[in-house]
Subunit: 285 residues, 2 copies
Amino acid sequence: MTTLEQKAEFEKWTIKLRDDICSELEKIEEEYDHDYLLPGQFRRESWQRNDPTQPDNNGGGGTMSVLKGRVFEKAGVNVSCVQGQFPEQFAKEIPGTSENPTFWACGISLVIHPLNPLVPAVHMNTRHIVTSKSWFGGGADLTPTFEFQEDTKDFHQAFRNCCDQYDPNYYAKFKLWCDEYFYLPHRNEARGVGGIFYDYVDSGSFDTDYAFTRDVGLTFLKIYPELVRRHFQKPWTAEDKQKQLQKRGRYAEFNLLYDRGTKFGLQTNGNTEAILMSLPPVAVW
Amino acid sequence: MTTLEQKAEFEKWTIKLRDDICSELEKIEEEYDHDYLLPGQFRRESWQRNDPTQPDNNGGGGTMSVLKGRVFEKAGVNVSCVQGQFPEQFAKEIPGTSENPTFWACGISLVIHPLNPLVPAVHMNTRHIVTSKSWFGGGADLTPTFEFQEDTKDFHQAFRNCCDQYDPNYYAKFKLWCDEYFYLPHRNEARGVGGIFYDYVDSGSFDTDYAFTRDVGLTFLKIYPELVRRHFQKPWTAEDKQKQLQKRGRYAEFNLLYDRGTKFGLQTNGNTEAILMSLPPVAVW
């Protein structure tokens, strides 16, 4: 079982990853060459989660970081560490809760919607969850409006390299999982070009699984800014922008109709603003 | 049980109501006084529903009518008449399907998102459903960004008058149902200012229940254009528009997270474009 020290360590690392990602995104905001739009900066807002099953109602909480900038029209980075008991109805879907609905969960989740339609949107998440079992989950996936083959290739290669250090089966399995998960059946289309998605990772060693999850975070921190810098100075047309807004409509459909994280958050009395921070700044239908 | 003739009559009336509503909305588009924006007109598109349980795969179909205009930024009016068998999982939620999953359903559903933030958005639906039971459903509800008390009062009064002709309990019951149904628990807020919502209406007389549902349609056709004409020439500010776009974000959240009609449509292999026609033309988060 995950010890108190390991939980504290995971939380500390999660916050460090958040800080590093926010710094890098702000750096890109600074780099962007523009006459009158000013570089965006993250604003933070913390929230508490009430849980009547816990001492002092203390169900943990989190911090939202939101940047509305000139490169990133909306970048939302959430960190949350929560504990308590799952509602009975929901507990059935979670491993290790049949005897005891108590849980602890900590993670980072981010969604970035760039202003320039040629820069891909992205989602990344890493998390550690403890019930009577414990496991790691997470992943990262890319949603371009206009796909550049080179970007798709490099994004996948980066996560393949990350996975291959830990288990020869991870990449194929987690790539497939991502393709299956981020799919809109009512549109017969994928949300984006994929990446990796994993859950219930429990090799028996906290250290190994934690190292893998750290590498997922670091891989994201390296590859996404690279892709942004490939395109962020390129000009775009009104038609490009319209296509991006339509693509974002699909993104909103996925997150509201199907996303497990959204469902998990809303059903465990999470912070609505934080949960729905993934929604695009503007979308059209 | 509803006879074949009654089904045909209901379908014919549904199409007539659609035509009358579309004509009235186009008339308002013409009336609007504007220098260079041209009046919008409805465009129609039909679709077929495949159902492998039916002869020739004929699961019925429908027609979408969409207007993108200068008064109505997006007005979508759907008529659909479908028949077939419910998927097993879904059938459990529908009365009269425990022995036999066969159904027939016909109705009109419309959502109007006006351009002017001072003009309220609206939703209206009437339907007749036949399984081993048969019943009528429908309703209408108003979603202003800026509430005018007079509008709310008159909208409710119109539907109260309609209901009171049929059953002294209808209005109170259907108003409450509307308030409970169009509610966003994760926001602790109502979608709009309500109206009426009814389902499973089966007094034992097709004629009476059909007359009630016809009156709901006609009540809508009278009161909503009246409310539009109260405000459609008024000027608005950029801030008003931004508030409307935010309100529309909530509208999209409701329809994708909670709406039964959306769920019914997507789970019965309905036409995705028609089902999601209710989504706003532009929304922000």
